[in-house]
Chain length 261, copies 2
């Protein structure tokens, strides 16, 4: 086995239908998987957008009354004050609000633009999607429902595209996961020459999300990607979830605002 090269294959699930608000997402995925059902050890990476739509994590801007603070911020950023209100409702802290960009730490602990609130791929002009309340819980539920529908029990990752400091462009990261070890702690293992490796904890779930992103055309119909070849990270139990990927603010040495010296 040590001589077998590791191999990863990512394939977009063909034939995923458009997910309506409140629709049964597990059923839609099972239907789209009929011709190639996932087996044990497989990972399904599901775009956050369809999870949010299935869970009715949406808001109608027409029903939002912005506060004075939201109106002020919106004027500064040249944004819709109702959208800014929704972002603030989803956020714990505003990290940055400049040049039309609003970066916050969400109530779930993610740091991203607009708290993940998004208007693309959502039917209805004034409707926006919010990130799932608890993406790990969503992933666990989806995994359980898929197991019932498919017989097999693939791991589930819920992914979204986030920007990041210092580097241009977005990469997909794991908002939630179930049945996949989110981190691969390699500290203490020796390298090919028998020396201890430098501190390396691989963010497996984030890399799985990134790999899946490369086979998405970024249209709603490619919301689910099947990953094969990650068996060694797939577990029977649902595990710690992507919550394990959120660095506690006080321990974040990369963040200049965390004054932990």
């Amino acid at each position: 086995m040590a001589n077998e090269p590791l191999r990863l294959e990512a394939t977009a699930l063909l034939g995923m239908r458009e997910i309506a608000f409140g629709e049964d997402l597990a059923r839609a995925i099972a239907d789209a998987s009929a011709s190639r059902p996932p087996s044990i050890g497989d990972v399904l990476v599901v775009a956050q957008k369809v999870v949010s739509k299935a869970e009715r994590r949406v808001r109608r801007l027409a029903e939002v009354t912005p506060t004075a603070a939201a109106r002020e911020l919106a004027a500064k950023l040249d944004k819709d004050p109702r959208l800014v209100q929704v972002v603030l409702d989803e956020s714990e802290t505003v990290i940055r609000a400049e040049r039309g960009v609003l970066i916050t730490r969400t109530r779930q602990g993610y740091v991203c633009a607009n708290a993940g609130v998004d208007a693309s791929n959502v039917p209805g002009d004034d409707v926006v999607t919010l990130l799932p309340e608890d993406s790990d819980a969503s992933a666990r539920r989806l995994r359980r429902e898929l197991a019932e529908l498919l017989g097999a029990r693939p791991a589930v990752v819920i992914a979204d595209s986030f920007g990041r400091p210092w580097r241009v462009g977005q990469v997909d990261v794991a908002l939630g996961c179930a049945g996949l070890r989110p981190l691969d702690d390699r500290r203490g293992q020796s390298d090919a020459l028998g020396r201890e490796l430098s501190a390396t904890v691989l963010a497996v779930a984030d890399e799985a999300a990134a790999a899946a992103s490369l086979v998405r055309r970024k249209h709603g119909r490619e919301a689910v990607v099947l990953l094969q070849g990650l068996e060694r990270f797939v577990t029977e139990e649902d595990g710690a979830g992507a919550a394990a990927l959120l660095r506690p603010v006080a321990e974040d040495l990369f963040d200049a605002r965390s004054d932990v010296g």
Copy 2:
């Protein structure tokens, strides 16, 4: 074609030999690819460590005399003062130096721990590797040499594992690339429902590095990974390289230190 699912396959190159200081890396990769030569449209993701060794980007700690500043920092961080000196030599700015962690912006513009200076997988107890001087130039050279040796001309990405703010664990990113579009700018394209997408610029080269990382066992012998299925991002010309992924400090709204308000 629109009905064909996109498919990505990542396979570690078996039989890569240990790369010695100054060794011909293109030749070693060509030898290891003999049974399955890459074709046009393929991408080879090469671990930074073997590039640095081939380019003799190494330093012997015994030959380093730490300055007073390096000794002071080393005492605070409980690190070898000679190693700290090497990190400072490779750096433009110290971003953070606390709890044994030294994060800097390197002369090349990366923000990472220890300026990418690393002792794992390097023979000789007091030898450390440095990041390549110019990883895009390294990628271009490797691509040209591989084309001569193999006939085919795969794109080349040079990858390393970086930590990041706010999230636990490391992900592989592209230090350099040649022949791969580093960014896929999807702004202005419409989504499945005909609306304009929210601002999305996909960091293709970073996601390619991350996907490759998932088939590495983190041993020196799996330094090269073949990616197939990214043809739409592969270009005849070498292109902008991974330099396009470095966000100018003054434009970095994610970074609280960049006061651009």
